[in-house]
Symmetry: D2
Subunit: 430 residues, 4 copies
Amino acid sequence: MTSPTLDVFERHESAVRSYVRSFPDVFTTAKGHLVRSESGREYIDFFAGAGALNYGHNDDGMKAALLEYISGDGIAHALDMGTTAKARFLERFHEVLLAPRGLEHRVLFPGPTGTNAVETALKLARKVTGREKIVSFTNAFHGMTLGSLAVTGNSFKRGGAGLPLDNTVFMPFADFLDEGFDSLSYLERMLENGGSGMDLPAGVIVETVQGEGGINAASFGWLKRLNDLCARWDLPLIVDDIQAGCGRTGPFFSFEPAGIKPDIICLSKSLSGYGLPMALVLVRPDMDLFGPGEHNGTFRGNSMAFVTATEALRFWEDDTLTQDVLRKGEIVQEALEAMAAKHPDLKPDVRGRGLMRGLGLGAEGAANAVCAEAFKGGVIMETSGPASEVAKLLPPLTIPEAALRQGLDVMAKAVDTVAERIAKDQPAAA
Amino acid sequence: MTSPTLDVFERHESAVRSYVRSFPDVFTTAKGHLVRSESGREYIDFFAGAGALNYGHNDDGMKAALLEYISGDGIAHALDMGTTAKARFLERFHEVLLAPRGLEHRVLFPGPTGTNAVETALKLARKVTGREKIVSFTNAFHGMTLGSLAVTGNSFKRGGAGLPLDNTVFMPFADFLDEGFDSLSYLERMLENGGSGMDLPAGVIVETVQGEGGINAASFGWLKRLNDLCARWDLPLIVDDIQAGCGRTGPFFSFEPAGIKPDIICLSKSLSGYGLPMALVLVRPDMDLFGPGEHNGTFRGNSMAFVTATEALRFWEDDTLTQDVLRKGEIVQEALEAMAAKHPDLKPDVRGRGLMRGLGLGAEGAANAVCAEAFKGGVIMETSGPASEVAKLLPPLTIPEAALRQGLDVMAKAVDTVAERIAKDQPAAA
Amino acid sequence: MTSPTLDVFERHESAVRSYVRSFPDVFTTAKGHLVRSESGREYIDFFAGAGALNYGHNDDGMKAALLEYISGDGIAHALDMGTTAKARFLERFHEVLLAPRGLEHRVLFPGPTGTNAVETALKLARKVTGREKIVSFTNAFHGMTLGSLAVTGNSFKRGGAGLPLDNTVFMPFADFLDEGFDSLSYLERMLENGGSGMDLPAGVIVETVQGEGGINAASFGWLKRLNDLCARWDLPLIVDDIQAGCGRTGPFFSFEPAGIKPDIICLSKSLSGYGLPMALVLVRPDMDLFGPGEHNGTFRGNSMAFVTATEALRFWEDDTLTQDVLRKGEIVQEALEAMAAKHPDLKPDVRGRGLMRGLGLGAEGAANAVCAEAFKGGVIMETSGPASEVAKLLPPLTIPEAALRQGLDVMAKAVDTVAERIAKDQPAAA
Amino acid sequence: MTSPTLDVFERHESAVRSYVRSFPDVFTTAKGHLVRSESGREYIDFFAGAGALNYGHNDDGMKAALLEYISGDGIAHALDMGTTAKARFLERFHEVLLAPRGLEHRVLFPGPTGTNAVETALKLARKVTGREKIVSFTNAFHGMTLGSLAVTGNSFKRGGAGLPLDNTVFMPFADFLDEGFDSLSYLERMLENGGSGMDLPAGVIVETVQGEGGINAASFGWLKRLNDLCARWDLPLIVDDIQAGCGRTGPFFSFEPAGIKPDIICLSKSLSGYGLPMALVLVRPDMDLFGPGEHNGTFRGNSMAFVTATEALRFWEDDTLTQDVLRKGEIVQEALEAMAAKHPDLKPDVRGRGLMRGLGLGAEGAANAVCAEAFKGGVIMETSGPASEVAKLLPPLTIPEAALRQGLDVMAKAVDTVAERIAKDQPAAA
């Protein structure tokens, strides 16, 4: 399946490139849940830009708004100057999302990437508290710049820093430990005991569902208890909702069903709706303590992203999409459970929430092999987890039910193939 | 000049917002060197998105390419999968820029912001050498995430980290110290002396002209000597060409006249040409040591930026733009020198290279006042330097000569006004 | 009980002084288990120099050797030059202690304090492995210099650093968590999981019985499992035997009954036998990788300490002292259990091993009050634990049984007094 | 010259041992400036325990006091409890040294080693200011524990840490740079410029004469200017007077002739007078902010050291010793100048102050060779400097003039021998 175009990447791009290796084709156009390649193939997208395309590719409403804005020479890049595009976004974001949820948070625009949002949140928590340590959780993923990487669990990624990564205390995530061990009691015991070595932290950062870490979903009860623990100890709670937010698990903010209002919230990925770089940090007003320009970045004012992000808010005027996601989530869950039930030898387990699901496969190499097979079958999907042991499903939230079922069928066949291969004592990948 | 729209930012945006304070208007459309606001005013842009709009706003060629790509449902967001848009960019970038300059560097796409490029470069230098410390220079500015902030000199920005910033050794930049003190001899002496406390570093990061730091231009001789010193000590030399590159000082890479080939080069800002978020790191092949995915980021595959960036390369097929920049740079230089000569009381000095120039004003508050006056007169320009003591000029490289002169006239009047006010013993700003 | 002499400390000494506040008398002479003060009082010493006087005060054999050495103008201070005094110590230490236990360790002399031994051990573990993080345990105490303090759990002590303390991962000590939680399984799970955020450490440092941390004794089974875990993961195991070693728990090395041979062992406190500053680090030969002078210190060659330390080895030629300690330990245990049984309202628990025992008192302030009362009754004893909640007993190992019982009677009365006071709803201390 | 006893060190001691390699003999007794070995040889001591034996070996007055104290069963080890021995020392120290010099400092006893004193000083400066960075100087030596090592310049020693050493900014010491470069102007420029990357430090630590760093003496003018700079910027000035203090350069405190009163002063080495481990930190009363026990250490109460230290104060009741040191210093200076004048090929330079002098020899290996030759000739002396390029002289302050001249003659012959060998194109050492 190699092509002359693939050679271009081989010749010119750094060895760090990765997805072009997992999906060896050259893509051209895309619409909704479908992606097309130079070779003429059409793929069902169960990856959705790693969660950056919750509304599918090239949504018509956003596309129209974007074309109109560009055609009219709307200012494309404006740093953090005032623009009409940004003002409209701010007003609508407040009206559609913040006000109805009783969130009084200020909107801070960092650079337009998730890691920049996380870095900003960490800096702010440290500045607000005057403390240094951040509590993060096993299998957390928050980004690749130095501050975010320090709170990211993955050892391969951490190794890239070339520096000891510090000022983080890792605690076991919700169900990291079995045997009924309660990770929050442990955290609280460490905080209470004046000899535990745990310096009072500057804050806690958490994903409600860990995407890169293996589609590990914390229960709402656990999240509520974490929130209460933070309140008790006066620790800013930062929810990194970059992958789980924007409706991925049903509600716009993934933490809503837990009944909590985190102090600091990071959004990015699907925020612009169209896959354009954009990020923001929501800050409780009394923590909005940076002075003018104390954090900044050249691309904070990506107007095109404001335009599509504003248009994307139409999905959140009522709960139609949320209900849709929950319903489709159940379809995925059932399908995964069926695959798991059929192949106990793969040591399967089904994980996740809403349209953020995964099939954990304990058999070595199995999850990677399933994704490779699925790609051959016309479905784009990736693994996650520290040992790439989970086949992850992040379809567009707007995917039609039929296409969703079609993709799941392809995946089920891929699982069959891999199981068969393993049963014959062959390596998972062929 | 406040407007109902400005209130939106006041109500909803974080206190960290800054340029909306310096330029209290709400901008709508832009073209070339002109920006328009809701109030109907038209401004000459001497700021150019802090150097992200070297080709002016909404260049027609790029605009057409962009509209065509979007209209045709070109894939907008593709992580680091292979896409036609990205392949085209890579081929043309190599053909137009790298090959003719004998640069064999690999292209690494970090997240689409300058700070992400810098973080990647620093991680890589550390990984390649197995060492930790980075030599940076006084008044360096490299970004606001934790790794980049550690090599940034500005104390106000550093204070935002909420952590001790470490693993950096600051050395005096080219002319930071007067009295004929040679900063590179000092650096070398520190390296040579086994008791200096300077651990052998993982690399050196430098801007050829410091933008945020006050438009301080290192001589080409100094840069060459720095390059040779790095070679002698086996220290990777990282040139952060985010602001000074993309033709800002004349040649595409600002370091070309120094006759050097840095080991690692960071580009962003004007790279996409249209103000869209994009960044890359050029890596000497033998230093291209990250494994697949060891550094990553969701928005590495911003296809629209690839499309406009490819189109922007048309400016670099010959040296017309370079010559143009040098010529216009002289016009700016003369105008600034005239202002300086007229107002010795403001303790002026003229700085910079190409179309990256500045008027340093030793009189307290004067530079800020000049920019505020210029804005009233219809010119957008900002200060830089640790005490905001330099009125900075970054006009689009493509600005017509007449508009350039017109803007300089506005600035000259602003200087007159401020000088008059100060002479009357009033504060610089009124 | 204040005296003119106590005023001297008030006037001239830093506010950091502490034991002079707990024991407000001025001491003059001492012998065996008895200490005398200016006021003519005689105290039974249940503190023994915080474990530095295991053989009691001014042992006659050591005293004679010391007087002879000084009288003969033996070289008093010799850095790490060769001296007869040091050679004798090395030979005898090897013959009496190392060889019989099959320990092939090299003897490294750091500066003559416990914290210097710990710092050396940590540096060495990091150098040997090329890694940075050290696993330490809740309620560990290893010293007050920066490296040792980073692996010390106490939050008050840590606060004195004025720096974020880093490169340490704290794990729950043996029984830190109840509910059957297995702290070593947790540690191993963190090591196994590539996403746990736990970078492969440079080593593990542990006390077998935590002295300052509250007289918490790890079981020998737990220590054996920790040792095996370290071997499995190739992590140098450092046993800080500064307080628990030199026979305090029975055998010379506290870890002997666990059947392990730690890679690196720190000794100090009672090493010189006479209370003179001395410390050493035992290093597995293949880890003895410092170059000449890579660690040093002016007072490594404290000859007088070598002389008394050599003499002290006479206690270890057979197991008489060990058996003695174990027997007396049982006496203490019984006495403490009786106190605990009599006063359930004080929420007591009995802790420790050998002659390193403690009475934990959950009632706030009770342990401090008990020690204060005991001092009035003529017994010197201190608290330990993160909330000073344990009344600690460290009598000289050589204390006669009668004196031991006498001291325990004083303590029992002190407990009665405090319990009575609390029962009357008065504060513990009066 | 190897002996059976030297084998003991070879067999049992860590490879880190160093002076036993430079001085391959086994020492037994010592008196004044003379040291004797097992082989019966007698050496003139020009090393004086690296400055820990300023009053010579086994001074009779101190010896008598010590024997009396031990014989009478004076309490040997007392932590920081009140003892008569300690009270006497405090009173006399105040009366003889502090009061006459107008120093109102409090006396803080850290662990009994120089590095412990430095660690305490650094912790305190950070606690007092709430800042982290410490300014240290090229070729500084402050100790080998983590905090002290971070402010030590020597790269070999730093390498032993196994960690990046941080929170230190190294500045060029007094004459580190030639060409009339003013290191203090540079420091002040870095402090003034808000973009220099130099975070406002927690303090400055300095030796007035760098011992290990190569006998580099700062002028009193430079020290006064450093003191004033610290006052201007509110930076605690820490003088590490561990090697240069206790009369080594003439006055008790080496900084006295500069007319300054440092905020924090570290003393150790010759403090006890007899080579016994002892250290203290003098703290300006308003900086005496540690709470009780916030810094501690088992061997703070080394009573024998208090006894000899009290006796040693007899040398400071008038200025006889000071004058003596200055006079003998001139003798050394003249002798070294003569050697330098005679051997320009060795690229010599003469350094130092009082009885802390050195002969720098630019010829590679020459200084080491000179010390080895001198040892053969019966003089103990060591090198210092980052490349061991300085033959260092630290004779006892009390050395008789005749013995001093005798030792200098031996050294002069050693220099002749080495020069001859080099002239014949042979390696310096033979």
